[in-house]
């Protein structure tokens, strides 16, 4: 295996180095721990280096993990939610046993910028907007052609589940449009989340972001300076 010395006791490894596979698979198992079969991520590329220490071998890995495509219809409607995570791991191999010392994962950067900027597109003022008009590509992209039908079906389930009533057909159409936008928005939030959270249909899915903020959130928390409170005493040793 070709390598360049980086520091005393350290070697740089090629991506295909077999010695990295065992710690990489261990890291993957740790990443997938608690997940059901079918929802586990798979290993993409791996690269890294190893440092020999008195305690054993310390592996520093950088790996891409491919999350499986989303299957829950309440969480994802568009077939675009496959997510690539870029992870760094520090793994110690001591007497043949792997120990995960550090893990840091996040979505691959190339997708992040576009997703972040598209998250903050405003809702339209036009209350006559339909589902197909806000995503014109739905009309041409065969992958998305059934989106309108799917979203209408999920919206009907939402209306039934949460006992929604709307004043008019126009209002219902507008809410369907907001709901569809929110589903796309939820998927973007999902793609940008670094944890295990799932985002999708909730009882607030037919509200615009502004409506949600106005009705349910508390702007005073950031607008008004909090009254100075006495600091709690430090805890004594238990």
């Amino acid at each position: 295996v070709p390598f360049k010395p980086r520091a005393a006791g350290a070697r740089a490894w090629e991506p295909s180095s077999p010695e990295l596979l065992a710690p990489a698979r261990f890291a993957l198992d740790e990443y997938n721990r608690g997940r059901a079969a079918g929802s586990r991520a798979v290993l993409g590329t791996v690269r890294g280096r190893v440092r020999r220490t008195a305690q054993g071998s310390l592996y520093s890995l950088e790996a891409t993990l491919e999350e499986p495509p989303c299957k829950d219809p309440l969480v994802c409607l568009l077939p675009v939610s496959k997510k690539t995570m870029l992870c760094t791991f520090e793994i110690l191999n001591e007497l043949g046993k792997h120990i995960l010392l550090r893990r840091d994962c996040g979505p691959v950067d190339t997708k992040v910028t576009a997703l972040v900027s598209s998250l903050f597109q405003p809702y339209p003022d036009n209350r006559n907007e339909s589902v197909s008009s806000f995503l014109p590509q739905l009309n041409s992209d065969p992958l998305h052609q059934d989106f309108s039908m799917k979203i209408t079906s999920v919206f009907k389930d939402f209306v039934a589940t949460y006992n929604r009533t709307y004043e008019s057909e126009e209002e219902a159409q507008w809410r369907l449009s907001v709901f569809a936008r929110n589903m796309v928005r939820a998927q973007k939030i999902q793609a940008l989340d670094r944890g295990t959270a799932q985002y999708g249909v909730t009882k607030f899915s037919d509200l615009t972001e502004e409506e949600f903020r106005t009705i349910y959130l508390n702007p005073l928390l950031r607008e008004e300076p909090s009254k100075k409170m006495r600091l709690a005493k430090s805890l004594t040793d238990p």
Partner: protein
């Protein structure tokens, strides 16, 4: 701090409540904290009145929002909190009908807690659930799992929702806070939100406070 803690398992947390179409999260966060403090100091879990705070805390703005620090002061000045049964939640402001004779709990003081999440965990495990405020980014669509939004999307400077820390632990090696929300049990994980712990996610460590019951 112990590696994990859950006050729900120890009987210190009432059922998940629903603030309805009203920005009264601050009141629910504070009553949840006082419920925990009263339980830990007096041994009885009582479900306490948010409506009393909406109606009688004149510094805060009922459904338009409020601050936990003001609410503690209001509870002290009023002379305590009535129970949920005696002063039930309506979800909109009404005339104050608090009666000191009906108050079932009191508080003596309130304190601000550390911004260090390890110290917060230690405090929680020893002293009880903590009132905190967070940036609610993504919560409109949250269903389950541990949320860990990118920091620029969930800035600690844009706090807009008050909630209650009731526990913490790790799931699949990911550290989390268990957070009681006030949007009903048909939201999130039976009304609870799980947020990444240790990274200052969504400003969870910036406005931690508690009532003091002697």
């Amino acid at each position: 701090a112990p590696p994990e803690w859950d006050w729900r398992k120890k009987g210190a947390v009432t059922e998940v409540k629903d603030q309805g179409m009203c920005g009264s999260c601050w009141a629910f966060s504070v009553t949840g904290n006082v419920e925990g403090q009263w339980f830990l100091n007096r041994g009885t879990l009582l479900s306490l009145s948010e409506q009393e705070l909406l109606d009688c805390d004149k510094v805060d703005k009922a459904c338009l929002g409020g601050l936990p620090s003001n609410a503690y002061t209001a509870i002290e000045k009023l002379g305590g909190l009535e129970t949920e049964d005696d002063y039930s939640y309506q979800g909109h402001v009404q005339a104050c009908s608090f009666s000191a004779q009906m108050a079932k709990v009191y508080i003596n003081d309130s304190v601000e807690l550390s911004q260090n999440e390890q110290k917060l965990a230690a405090w929680l495990a020893q002293k009880g659930p903590i009132s905190v405020a967070i940036n609610a980014f993504g919560m409109q669509f949250y269903r389950h799992g541990i949320a860990h939004p990118l920091r620029p999307l969930c800035s600690p400077w844009l706090i807009d929702h008050a909630v209650l820390l009731v526990g913490y632990g790790n799931r699949s090696n990911i550290p989390f806070w268990a957070i009681k929300n006030s949007w009903g049990s048909d939201w999130g994980e039976e009304g609870y939100y799980y947020l990444h712990r240790g990274s200052g996610a969504c400003g969870v460590n910036t406005m931690a406070s508690s009532a003091v019951v002697n």
